[in-house]
Symmetry: C2
Subunit: 361 residues, 2 copies
Amino acid sequence: MNKNIAILAGDGIGPEVTAEAVKALDAIAETFGYQFQYNDALIGAAAIDATGNPFPEATEESCKSADAILFGAIGDPKYDNDPNAKVRPEQGLLKMRKNLGLFANVRPVSSYDALLPISPLKENIIKGTDFVVFRELTGGIYFGEPRGRSEDGNTAFDSCVYSKSEIERIAHLAFKAAMNRRKKLTLVDKANVLATSRLWRETVKDLSSQYPEVELDFMFVDNAAMKIIQNPKDFDVVLTENMFGDIITDEASVISGSLGLLPSASLGLKSSLFEPIHGSYPQAAGKGIANPIGAILSAAMLLEYAFDLKEECQIIKDAVNSALNIGYGTEDIFPDEGKSTSEVGDFISQSIVNQYKTESV
Amino acid sequence: MNKNIAILAGDGIGPEVTAEAVKALDAIAETFGYQFQYNDALIGAAAIDATGNPFPEATEESCKSADAILFGAIGDPKYDNDPNAKVRPEQGLLKMRKNLGLFANVRPVSSYDALLPISPLKENIIKGTDFVVFRELTGGIYFGEPRGRSEDGNTAFDSCVYSKSEIERIAHLAFKAAMNRRKKLTLVDKANVLATSRLWRETVKDLSSQYPEVELDFMFVDNAAMKIIQNPKDFDVVLTENMFGDIITDEASVISGSLGLLPSASLGLKSSLFEPIHGSYPQAAGKGIANPIGAILSAAMLLEYAFDLKEECQIIKDAVNSALNIGYGTEDIFPDEGKSTSEVGDFISQSIVNQYKTESV
Ligand SMILES: [Mg+2]
Ligand SMILES: [Mg+2]
């Protein structure tokens, strides 16, 4: 296997954690005899500093010619805190999603036995949690027109708009994911009130005949916000629109006990991007304390979603688990004996190599 | 003090739990020498059965001439499960809110020491939680126009609309509540994306100069959905728009461990209504197992918000606490030795009377 991976490390702790994710990919490449080519490209504040543009054309070209994109994080206080800044790092992110057509955000949520003590939820509630949320990323009220103010400035309005085709393309991805998992799909909406939610429900119901093995159910978003905390183990694949997904993915992220662990994917028809859900955390940059596991698990998702390498993905996940199980991790999850970013990355890469050796004996 | 209270007991367990709330009000009236007149009126399925209308004119008159409204619950499977039903109990609720101008939904959230074991959250996270959410109830995307489908049926749209005056009237209530509490107000919005949220932020910021003692902060709704679970003790008064409020109030309701405990108020300029947040729970109706505490605490809120009787409100809350502290409650919260609905109501009323006697010695 020979693949090109665009590396958009970005700002703050982005480069540090991405370096550890690349180590994990190298460990897989070495073990299985694959060739991964990495092409570094600029994004965010780093790109503004160098070119004035947070998503330069050269980066867009790199992304479009790559087989997958590994992304770090963006954002720098130098731009965030300047109300007069004309160009902001976050604009790079929105432009990238749009230009690459990344319409589906995928966020796995699971509990780790070694981290049960740091979750705000009780052990019996979360132990064994394993679900994944498919959030529509380029439609809905965050983009709908018209939006703005009345002429007198006293009334404001936003529009939530969805077309059947926007719903179908992400619904297919969610049904397919369910087929590879426990075959349960929950559509989260507010169909008792919203016209867009009724179109979601109707469209997803129609598609379900193509996936007869998948059990489809519907849940109102307010109820889902309760059930994610009360019975997170009940979910397998959750499908939802942009704003509801924004809220419930962040809500669900508390289950594991640390944002530093959580990976995500943003999928389009031609491109796919993988990134930890944490931000650029500029205060921690350069200190060697950033948790690389979110980035490393993003590399694992890349193998599964972009290259269809399920076994290799699982090997990375197992290596992460084995580190957590012996208490080997950064200070955010193991305050008493936190290791450095690169120590954790090295440990995980080494255990990828060792794991495979053991398995193949 | 001489007050008229409209009693809209409704369907399912509504009448049973409302009867216990009235016992608590009677205990207060007896103790303090007040006169409370109760006027029963029909609503929901009970009203459809009797009159064909889920919110009959006579009920509307009763509500409008009352000093406060005590509400039970509505909903009956006979109508809910009939897709051909032309009139539904829930229409009574929406019509009532609209005709009475109930624009602010108020939901207190607190933890009870005796119930820490039944919460899905860890004790150290929730112990001492005490906040209240003010949710705008008659505007936003649940009511905005235009809404519907394109002619070909392939596109659906909803509109979120807010005017400055809609925001101001509920913001004043929230600021005043904060003045009576720990003087902290958190506006939950999505101002980095939505035009309506930017109007909320601007309007609330402008009003804050009238409440200089209140510390105002802003939180994006996705972040709030995390923080409510991670640090619920950090909140005092939360103010938010209709849909965000729908989601985060239900999310926050899991903290106490049982929906059966939670009261709410819906406030307008001329009317105010008080109801437990639980539904009509028809499967439990008539069995004497419904938890009356949500209804009893709604009566306590009625005393505080409608009659400005803060001490009397606190006496009911203390009586509820004393029952919980000795493990006296229905089976949903004390599965091993659940008492009946009326036993719990009697116990609480009796302890209201006793408590005052003890205090006034
Ligand atoms: Mg978010
Ligand atoms: Mg709700």
